[in-house]
């Protein structure tokens, strides 16, 4: 997962969580505030209405008392004669009432009602028809008639305009001062009734005041609805249950929550004067509807802020973390591509430190690379250029010399008897010597004044160390051949001085071979090779000198002589080693035997195979001691294995003609067998047919003799050259080894294949074991297996192994 996505995945949930928390908290708080605000509005409205109603009562009562004390009304009520009353007195009364109505706009009707219910006088401010003058049958009048007390109040629906109204009436009990005696009780003369429109009472309950969807109701004490702030609903009276709840609910500060009209409502109530019930009903869903809006708003804000913050954090994350990291990554890529100088804007933080480290690392990398390059091209010990660099230099120098038609010389410098020195003084001293030697050579070359050359400073000469004690000097742009000799002489002279190493004084000599371009060749590798040959020649001629290459030099002979020396030295210094190639039963896959193969670990040339030196060994008779060494090694090895009880396989040794003819050979062989006390059956001898024939009769005798010891005899390279079947019978042969060459094409060449089949058949007939060497492919294997070959030897199964590897194979 990308870092960028990780940052997003981290920041976004955190931010969202924070914002949601904030949102939830503020939502809850605001919701509560809204609820409280709604409650406040409801309670406020109720209180205002209550005070309005209360004050209405009070002022009405007060005003009526004032009326009671005015003579106009009392006179009026005391006048029984209607004619008189209406004609003389009523106009004044009407005027009085008009004034009163104008002063109290909540009252829209004022009436004088006679005790019998006749509506004597009726004054209204705005004309609306009077349904009837006779009120005696109205419910309210009857109630009023039966009521006690000076004042009577009721709520009713005014039949004249079908509107809810509130009636306040005062009974007028008067004594006619002109007619009645002082002591008589006042009698009811009439009622003064003021009608108040409930709408005016409900001004505080008007819906425009309230934003919470509060439904206000005014009902009378029996629950009959007088005013409903929601006009759409045709509500006559509130349910009894609600009425009971109102009666029960005494706590004025908090609403009671109940179901009304299938919805949950929060209800505040007030009962006034026992006559009115005012209800403020807040539908719960409306209460929380605005908070729903609020919730949505908060959710929206939360979302916006979350997005904003997340984006901000992501942006910051990118800016301060991801981008620097990307820059570092790009820088690293560039470093990877090898750019030594990386430009990075580094911030003053951990990433900046990382950047610093990267740059430092890059620098060090480049340093290392430079070092490695140096190492690649230079010799670590002496600091001189190595073979690779030399070769490149030589190529370029040659190209240059070719262009400018100049001469070029290659000097091959070889230390004489370095191995001896190394062995005597130890490797450390040897290394020190080489270092000093290299320095001296370099100095000598540089400071050889070449008279013919105008440029005294020969910067372009190259000295290289290409091997253990081998150095090459390239002299580009020399004017004549003799310049090379001059350098060589100078060198010899320089090296004639002894080296002081630790406590020793060492004299060292070198042999130098010189080849010239374009005289000897124009190829760089050739130049070196020819110089090398020249150097051998110099060695042969007594060392501590220099020789120019000439075509007369017999490379082969020189080389051979040299190699002979080397062989001798190899024997002395035990540079030979034996490897064992397993022979495998093709059917079972089991190893049935081993062939011992000699290898020469040349200190300079590495591993040298017997093909390269055995012929020479045979010619120089070094084969004898080498052969003895082989036998010794094999048998000793057997001893070791037997002691360890690890390997019990017969080992085959290759014998040459010379060894066969060597009189001592058998003796030595027996001696060694006896010495190590190994069963002779563990030893086998391989000998080529050619060798056998060359050896002649003597060989036969030797063989028989050897065979008697228990050693098996194998005929090698059968099928190549002179293959005589009679030899098989004449000689004491146990095994047959088919020539490699036949095996190579045994499948592809039908003739070879037929031959091999015949050989195997013949061998089998004669009771001989057949081994095939050089089996590398499966199809060869299958072929041979089919033909009944007994043993298979080759890379298909195993390559030649070290003794330790064989042991591992046998035990593992």
């Amino acid at each position: 997962m990308r870092l960028h996505s990780k940052i997003i995945a981290l920041t976004t949930p955190v931010v969202i969580l924070c914002m949601i928390t904030v949102g939830v908290v503020s939502f809850t708080y605001l919701r509560k505030t809204i609820r409280d605000s709604a409650y406040g509005a409801a309670q406020n409205a109720l209180e205002h209405t209550e005070s309005k109603i209360v004050s209405l009562y009070e002022t009405a009562e007060t005003n009526m008392r004032i009326f009671a004390s005015s003579s106009v009304l009392t006179n009026y009520l005391l006048t029984d004669n209607e004619q008189e009353r209406f004609t003389l007195l009523q106009p004044t009364l009407i005027r009085l009432f008009s004034g009163y109505l104008k002063a109290n706009p909540e009252y829209y009707e004022i009436r004088v009602i006679m005790p019998d219910g006749f509506e004597d006088t009726r004054v209204v401010l705005h004309d609306f028809p009077n349904i009837t003058d006779e009120e005696k049958n109205s419910v309210y009048f009857k109630t009023m008639q039966n009521s006690h007390g000076e004042f009577f109040t009721t709520t009713y629906t005014n039949p004249d305009n079908d509107r809810a109204a509130f009636l306040i009436a005062k009974k007028f009990l008067l004594r006619d001062p002109n007619l009645d005696p002082i002591t008589s009780t006042p009698s009811l003369r009439g009622y003064l009734a003021v009608t108040v429109d409930l709408q005016s009472l409900a001004q505080y309950l008007h819906p425009s005041h309230n934003q919470y969807g509060i439904n206000f109701l005014i009902t009378n004490r029996r629950g009959k609805v007088l005013f409903n702030s929601l006009p759409g609903k045709d509500l006559i009276s509130i349910p009894n249950r609600l009425l009971e709840q109102v009666a029960d609910h005494t706590h004025m500060e908090k609403p009671f929550i109940t179901q009304y009209d299938q919805l949950s409502h929060h209800i505040f109530s007030k009962t006034i004067h026992g006559e009115f019930i005012i209800l403020a009903m807040i539908p719960e869903k409306d209460l929380f509807a605005s908070s729903h809006h609020l919730g949505l708003l908060i959710a929206l804000i939360t979302l916006l802020f979350s997005v904003a913050f997340s984006s901000l954090l992501i942006f910051l994350g990118r800016k301060f973390i991801v981008s620097p990291i990307m820059e570092l990554r790009n820088a690293a890529s560039e470093m990877g591509e090898g750019n030594p100088d990386i430009e990075l804007l580094l911030s003053n933080d951990e990433l900046g430190e990382l950047g610093h480290s990267l740059i430092e690392m890059n620098r060090q990398l480049h340093e290392s690379q430079a070092q490695i390059r140096h190492l690649a091209y230079h010799d670590s010990l002496t600091g001189l250029p190595n073979r690779i660099m030399l070769q490149e230099f030589l190529k370029r120098a040659l190209a240059g010399a070719q262009r400018h038609k100049e001469l070029l010389a290659v000097l091959f410098v070889d230390l004489d008897d370095f191995k001896r020195i190394n062995d005597t003084l130890g490797h450390k001293t040897g290394d020190d010597l080489l270092k000093k030697l290299a320095a001296r050579i370099e100095t000598a070359v540089r400071h050889t004044p070449l008279i013919s050359h105008s440029n005294l400073n020969r910067e372009s000469d190259q000295v290289a160390r290409i091997g253990g004690d081998e150095f090459i000097i390239v002299l580009p742009c020399i004017e004549r051949h003799s310049d090379a000799a001059q350098v060589a002489r100078r060198l010899l002279e320089a090296l004639s001085q002894p080296f002081h190493l630790d406590e020793h004084q060492i004299h060292v000599t070198v042999s130098i071979g010189i080849s010239i371009f374009p005289a000897d060749t124009d190829l760089p590798d050739e130049l070196i090779r020819l110089a090398d040959i020249a150097m051998y020649h110099a060695k042969e001629k007594g060392k501590n000198n220099y020789r120019y290459y000439s075509s007369a030099m017999n490379t082969h002979a020189v080389k051979r002589q040299f190699m002979e020396m080397e062989l001798r030295r190899a024997l002395e210094h035990k540079e030979f080693v034996l490897k064992y190639q397993p022979q495998v039963d093709p059917c079972s896959g089991q190893v049935r035997g081993l062939e011992a193969l000699i290898r020469w670990q040349h200190p300079k040339r590495g591993i040298i195979l017997p093909d390269e030196f055995m012929a020479l060994a045979e010619e120089s008779e070094l084969i004898i001691p080498i052969g003895e060494w082989v036998v010794n090694t094999v048998i000793a090895q057997h001893r070791v294995w037997l002691d360890r009880r690890t390997v019990f396989l017969p080992i085959s040794i290759n014998l040459s003609t010379i060894q066969l003819l060597d009189a001592n050979f058998e003796k030595i062989l027996r001696r060694i067998i006896a010495h190590f006390n190994i069963p002779a059956s563990l030893l086998q001898i391989e000998i080529t047919e050619n060798a056998l024939i060359k050896a002649g009769d003597n060989a036969r005798r030797s063989l028989f003799s050897l065979r008697e010891t228990g050693i098996r005899i194998c005929l090698d390279d059968f099928g190549s050259g002179y293959s005589s079947l009679t030899n098989l019978t004449n000689f004491p042969i146990d095994k047959l080894i088919i020539d490699r060459g036949l095996i190579t094409n045994v499948v592809s060449d039908t003739k070879d294949g037929e031959l091999v089949s015949a050989i195997i058949k013949a061998a089998k007939t004669l009771g001989l074991t057949v081994t095939a060497k050089g089996v590398e492919h499966r199809d060869q294997l299958e072929f041979l297996k089919d033909r009944g070959c007994d043993l298979i030897q080759g890379f298909y199964f195993y390559r030649p192994l070290f003794a330790s590897e064989v042991e591992e194979l046998a035990t593992g």
Partner: protein, 364 residues
């Protein structure tokens, strides 16, 4: 007579105040005037319309009989009634009252019967008027009679005004230019006439129609009151272009502005007559008789009639009146007009109630 300019209101109150003062003084000095026929006889208080009674006649009366007559004023019949109710008929000696209310006042025991023999000049009074209304024969001495019609500015109103219809359904130009008498009978009665009904109708539907008509007219009405009869009258200035007015008063206005014309509405108006009444509480009844006899001297009545531009109820007074006065159709309307006009009757109580209710609705 409806003369109710603003200052007369002031005057009436002023007069009332004077009266109070006088009566206080009078009653304080009562012990000295035990003999009703004595110097206490020298004061009379007359409750009357303003600008109705020639003051010079009062001066002459005082010169001749040594009795001082002071006037107290009322603006409307209803106000007069109110004043009387408030004082329970006390405080006045003479009351000038329209014929309709006499019976009620008598019922209220406010009035003292007037002995015929005490006022010999009653012989000159037209019998018709003496019996014009219930109880007027017993309690009242007729004064003037007249009609109710329309005065208008003929120079400002181009369309001829012929009847109540022009007043109740006016031209748009008359918006806010009309003054109507603030009297329930006059307003509603004439509205009824305009609708073709009797001014004394008791039919509730007819009354409702009258109400509607009056409500319709309301936006055109500048005020429900009586136009001033002085030079500063709104009819003179032209602020009022049409008004409901009594015939004589229109002539008074004409004095100030000749363009003002009076028309007897073709639907017919109302016919009225007012009477002098003596308060039962009066302590100067003898002086009152003297006064009443005095004013009915034909030559005196002629003077009074000319002053007020009204037709007197005294037949002999015609001998002393100029021809142009006697032939003035405004003062003496032709027969056909009189036939169509109605005298207000006392209506049944329930009708009165309704009328009161309607009246209140119109005037507020």
């Amino acid at each position: 007579m409806f003369k109710a300019p603003r200052y007369s209101l002031f005057l009436s109150y002023h007069g009332f105040a004077i009266f109070l003062l006088v009566s206080c003084l009078y009653s304080a000095l009562m012990p000295f005037y035990l003999n009703p026929a004595h110097a206490s006889e020298k004061q009379l208080v007359l409750l009357n319309w303003s600008e109705y009674f020639d003051q010079e006649v009062l001066v002459d009366f005082e010169k001749e009989h040594g009795i001082k007559v002071t006037e107290a004023y009322y603006e409307t019949d209803e106000l007069r009634t109110e004043m009387l109710i408030n004082s329970d008929g006390k405080g006045y000696d003479l009351i000038l009252c329209n014929g309709v209310n006499v019976a009620l006042y008598a019922q209220k025991k406010w009035l003292a019967p007037i002995p015929e023999k005490k006022i010999p000049n009653l012989q000159y009074v037209d019998q018709r008027w003496r019996e014009g209304f219930p109880e007027t024969k017993t309690y009242g001495v007729p004064f003037f009679w007249g009609t109710l019609g329309i005065a208008y500015r003929s120079d400002l109103i181009t369309k001829p005004v012929t009847g109540w219809h022009d007043l109740f359904v006016p031209d748009d130009m008359l918006r806010g230019k009309i003054v109507m008498i603030k009297d329930s009978r006059d307003l509603i009665g004439m509205a009824l006439k305009a609708k073709g009904y009797s001014a004394n109708s008791t039919n509730p539907e007819e009354l409702d129609q009258a109400k509607e008509l009056l409500l319709y007219q309301k936006p055109f009405v500048r005020a429900y009151s009586y136009v001033s009869l002085s030079k500063q009258s709104s009819m003179v200035t032209g602020q009022t272009m049409m008004a409901m007015i009594y015939n004589g008063d229109a002539l008074m206005l004409q004095e100030h502005e000749p363009a003002i014309k009076f028309v007897q509405p073709k639907e017919g108006g109302s016919l009225w007559c007012d009477y002098f009444l003596i308060a039962s509480s009066s302590l100067h009844k003898e002086a009152a008789y003297t006064f009443l006899n005095y004013i009915h001297r034909p030559e005196i009545m002629a003077r009074l009639a000319q002053y007020a531009y009204y037709a007197s109820t005294n037949t002999k007074a015609a001998e002393y009146l100029p021809t142009d006065f006697l032939t003035n159709p405004t003062i003496y309307p032709p027969k056909e007009v009189l036939e169509k006009s109605e005298i207000f009757q006392q209506l049944p109580p329930r009708t009165v109630k309704k009328i009161n209710s309607i009246f209140n609705l119109i005037i507020q």
